[in-house]
């Protein structure tokens, strides 16, 4: 316990920022890279989590509990988003019998 509270003082905050930015970029690259809708949803989760980790890091470094409450609310929103997103995916599979995101271009024409 004592060891854990001292170890974060040895890691510069910049390294947390770099880690979170790298995770966010990987998530965005995944959204552009794949056509499978379920993997795209997973990459969205990854991006949300990188932002959560960044908020928690800033909160720990500034000793401000408000940011951790904010992370809690982001988790709530993410859970609701996943429930709706997966039911949209089931609808899509039922109606066009595929989860290829490129088939959903009806708004284009």
């Amino acid at each position: 316990m004592k060891e854990i509270t001292t170890v974060i003082q040895l890691i510069p905050l910049e390294h947390y920022v770099f880690l979170c930015l790298a995770l966010f970029s990987i998530g965005m690259m995944g959204v552009l890279f794949r056509r499978n809708t379920i993997v795209i949803l997973m990459c969205l989760e990854l991006m949300l989590n990188s932002v959560n980790l960044l908020l928690a890091a800033f909160s720990a470094y500034r000793s401000d509990p408000a940011a951790q409450v904010f992370v809690f609310f982001i988790m709530v929103v993410a859970a609701a988003e996943v429930a709706v997103g997966l039911s949209i995916l089931i609808m899509m599979k039922r109606n066009v019998n595929s989860i290829d995101i490129n088939l959903l271009d009806k708004l284009k024409d």
Partner: protein, 166 residues
């Protein structure tokens, strides 16, 4: 102990890359669970114990099981997924790398925030967070339950069998 941060960060980055590049969606889910566990380890390292526990329960316990359930239900665990054209994939990788480059350039030197003078390592414990959550953030907490209700109704409506064809 410091190396633990770099180990967890490396595991998180590698498994995030494997989420994007693995062919089978089931493997993607497994790698995403590994990534989330590494992030939960980072929360413990930050002494945000409440967040670590909630993260494991909500993400690896509930959301990823939901993903696995949908994959199994719709029988999506095939590898014959149509892939994007090579040029599109290349463009995706290049634009992701460019975004990382720009963000790193923007964040470099900005985040040199020193430690708070009265550094308090106990802010992430359940009791402290609970007090903040149920005094200052009472209204958002109650509103989020309405959000859950709306999401539940929406999911049930979308998942019903006899919905008009799109």
């Amino acid at each position: 102990m410091v190396f633990l941060f770099y180990l967890l960060g490396g595991v998180a980055l590698l498994s995030a890359l494997m989420v994007v590049f693995s062919k089978n969606p089931i493997n993607s889910v497994i790698y995403l669970i590994i990534c989330f566990l590494a992030i939960a380890g980072n929360y413990i390292l930050l002494n945000a114990q409440f967040l670590a526990v909630v993260h494991i329960i909500v993400y690896t316990g509930a959301i990823m099981v939901l993903f696995l359930f949908v994959i199994m239900l719709l029988n999506l665990n095939k590898e014959n997924e149509p892939h994007k054209k090579l040029i599109t994939k290349l463009a995706a990788i290049i634009s992701g790398a460019l975004l990382l480059f720009v963000l790193l350039g923007a964040a470099k030197g900005v985040a040199q925030i020193p430690f708070n003078e009265n550094f308090d390592p106990e802010i992430g414990l359940v009791g402290r967070l609970g007090k903040v959550l149920f005094t200052d953030y009472m209204l958002p907490f109650e509103v989020s339950s309405v959000l859950f209700l709306a999401a539940m109704v929406g999911a049930v409506m979308l998942g019903k069998k006899d919905v008009k064809k799109i």
